[in-house]
Amino acid sequence: MSNELVQILEGNTFVVSDHTGDIEASLTDPTGLFSFDTRFLSEWILLVNGSRLNALTVDDTAYYETRFFLVPGTGTVYVDSKLSVIRVRTVADGFYESLTFLNHQDRPVDLEIRLEAASDFADLFEVKDALKKKGKYYNRIEDGCLILGYERDTYVRETRVVANQATTIDQDGVEFSVQIAPHGRWSTDLAVLVDLGEIGSNHQKAAQKSRRSASAKARGLDKWIERAPSLNCSLDSLKRTYQRSLVDLAALRFSTLTMPNHALPAAGLPWFMTLFGRDSIITSLQSLPFIPELAATTLLALGERQGTVIDDFRDEDPGRIPHEMRFGEMTAFEERPHSPYYGCADATPLYVVLLDEYERWTGDTKLVRSLEFEARAAINWIDEYADLQGNGYLSYQRRNEKTGLENQCWKDSWDSISYRDGTLPGFPRATCELQGYAYDAKMRGARLAREVWHDPAYADRLEHEAANLKRRFNRDFWVKDGEYFALALESDGRHVDALTSNIGHLLWSGIVDKSKAAAVVRHLMGPRMFSGWGIRTMAQGEGRYNPIGYHVGTVWPFDNSFIAWGLRRYGFKREAAAVAAGILEAADCFDGRLPEAFGGYEREVTQYPVQYPTACSPQAWSTGAPLLLIRTMLGLEPVGDHLIVDPVLPAEIEHLELLDIPGRWGKIDAFGRGLVDVANPRSLRRTR
């Protein structure tokens, strides 16, 4: 991925190319023009007099536009070129490419300019698993356009190459024969448009409407940043990180077919540009104090797709919030269950958590009223459909054994849930953080029932159930000899006893007995878990611990942002500041863009956070992490119609102000001064 460029426009249309702008997809090189999980262009090669060009510089400052400065030549040694080429590509409903050729000689030059075009119409799932196509390809030339097509029964996808000035159009590309005067220039514009047939028509109309000049788009991005609170700080690095997060969130915006004019956060660029229950909810929670409309769209879009029936292929139950939505060929032919797929155990309780948090910030009771049915159905799902062990705990086990997900919590890799000795438990699995989310969902559901839905009896019932769950949880999950909560319970009640960061999420949910919180924090901030940059997913010394194991030792920024929030909830403000300081310093090492995860090595050993190689960047919940950390450090908490500000900042941040925080109070400013010495975060002094 590292050598490739990605461009995108507010949605799931994006281009991945090499540094000359060429696309030449292969099994190991997933470049192309993608839209709705389908590759619409797998080859797009610019040839000048039969030869490919070399990149001098690439300017990709805007996420939707890239300028490639190219010259002829073989590549290794640069010789003064007699010709330069400027290739400007803007992504919209496909992409628009403007080519300018500059002749630097004092005599005319004849050029044969060709663009080779081809498409394999691969589904993203096929790109990943290298599967064979079942339909037929066709090419045709129509009204001066080259049309590349693919057809399987009623499924039709087409790519339209529009080249108005082309001298020749053939089955494999378009060609221009031009003569450029001495020191003259020649330009042409091309368009490559994707056609999804009927399903895309609404969406394409919206995309066409939003297709404006690059400068108008830049103004749109400026507006987006302007609408968010402005941050002033004595630390330039934090200002940079904040700015980066806002720009990346703009790039991660995704619109569904039913709400083409509203955006929600997709999970990651480029391969996860779609609606994900968990990722969209988590990112919406993180960005609520900054860009609350993302949460509103997420709640509506997920509510619209909430499960209503029992469907084993899609792991769907009534009330369940979807995990992932896809639009490609394999989903269309029900060879994959993603229309949408529901195999996710945490998105459903988290949906209710987001709904309550959204109302607490915005006061938008209208939306909360309109989603009452969905919220009640989500709460009902917890007890009615997700108590698979029959012990009153939320657990998961897939019913689609072929293409469903085995681990349906956020740590979804095969070895993430284990005993201290590394043994993997059986199914169903009741991981601990799910119980915290269920508790929080019921407490927050109760508040909404009382204050918005005017159903005090339901509120009482939920609070009673939540109190009951909390009491049982603190008894059944507590590992006495280690003084922490087990990662999960087996069906027979045994503790799956690895020490993991999941216990931090429990603080956030509020399910931990006050008397047990200090012990939990001691683990989180102790040397086995806190690396100096952040809290590891799994403690050093556990059987499966590996500092570069995906969920068994790496540090996840999103995970840490929720743990910091949890630390604040239980009054451990200094520890929260220490976690924030570590993650934000790591962010600075990555130019303000936090990766999904980085190595769990001791900070003193590596001096620099070691990035875990992942396919997507930016990743939405990593992008949201600095936002939640800023909220946490400033101690922002909506209470009634007021916003409480209770800053506890690391000493490195001398001064921090966040201006125009939007909410039910109108707009409010928050200020803070750094006082906490985070050099020794393990001293468990409490400020309160």
Partner: protein, 132 residues
């Protein structure tokens, strides 16, 4: 993989008769609008109008203005109505062609059953004990 076990001539009629007689349908509690289904086979074209008013469903053949128009083969409708095929996938495939308000279709398709043969969760141990 999916076999047809029962005669299905009545599947379309049965589906519409069912939704028209269910009373207020909770999952459509905030939904309002009219969908027209144009269901065709070799020698016929049926128009079905489904009007939803906050969960109250009325079905008719009488021509009226529709917010969403869906065209599909009778065989496909029968498959969807009996859980052999899913409406959203059919839409992505182009086998179901929809025009107009997509949100309305999204809400309406909640009335179709889940995949045939689905059993749901394995009954928890305590419940099994209580039941027997």
């Amino acid at each position: 993989m999916i076999t047809r076990s029962e005669p299905r001539q009545k599947a379309v009629d049965a589906f519409f008769a069912d939704i028209a007689t269910r009373g207020k349908i909770a999952v459509l509690g905030t939904t309002s609008g009219t969908i027209r289904f144009d269901i065709s086979n070799a020698d016929s074209l049926e128009h079905w109008y489904v009007t939803v008013r906050k969960g109250e469903v009325a079905v008719s053949h009488k021509n009226t203005r529709a917010d969403t128009v869906c065209e599909l083969d009778k065989g496909l409708f029968e498959d969807i109505a009996e859980g052999r095929r899913q409406a959203m996938s059919a839409l992505l495939r182009g086998a179901l062609v929809a025009q107009g308000d997509m949100s309305l279709l999204m809400s309406f398709q909640r009335l179709f059953p889940g995949r045939i043969g689905s059993k749901g969760r394995v009954a928890p141990i305590s419940e099994v004990a209580q039941d027997r």
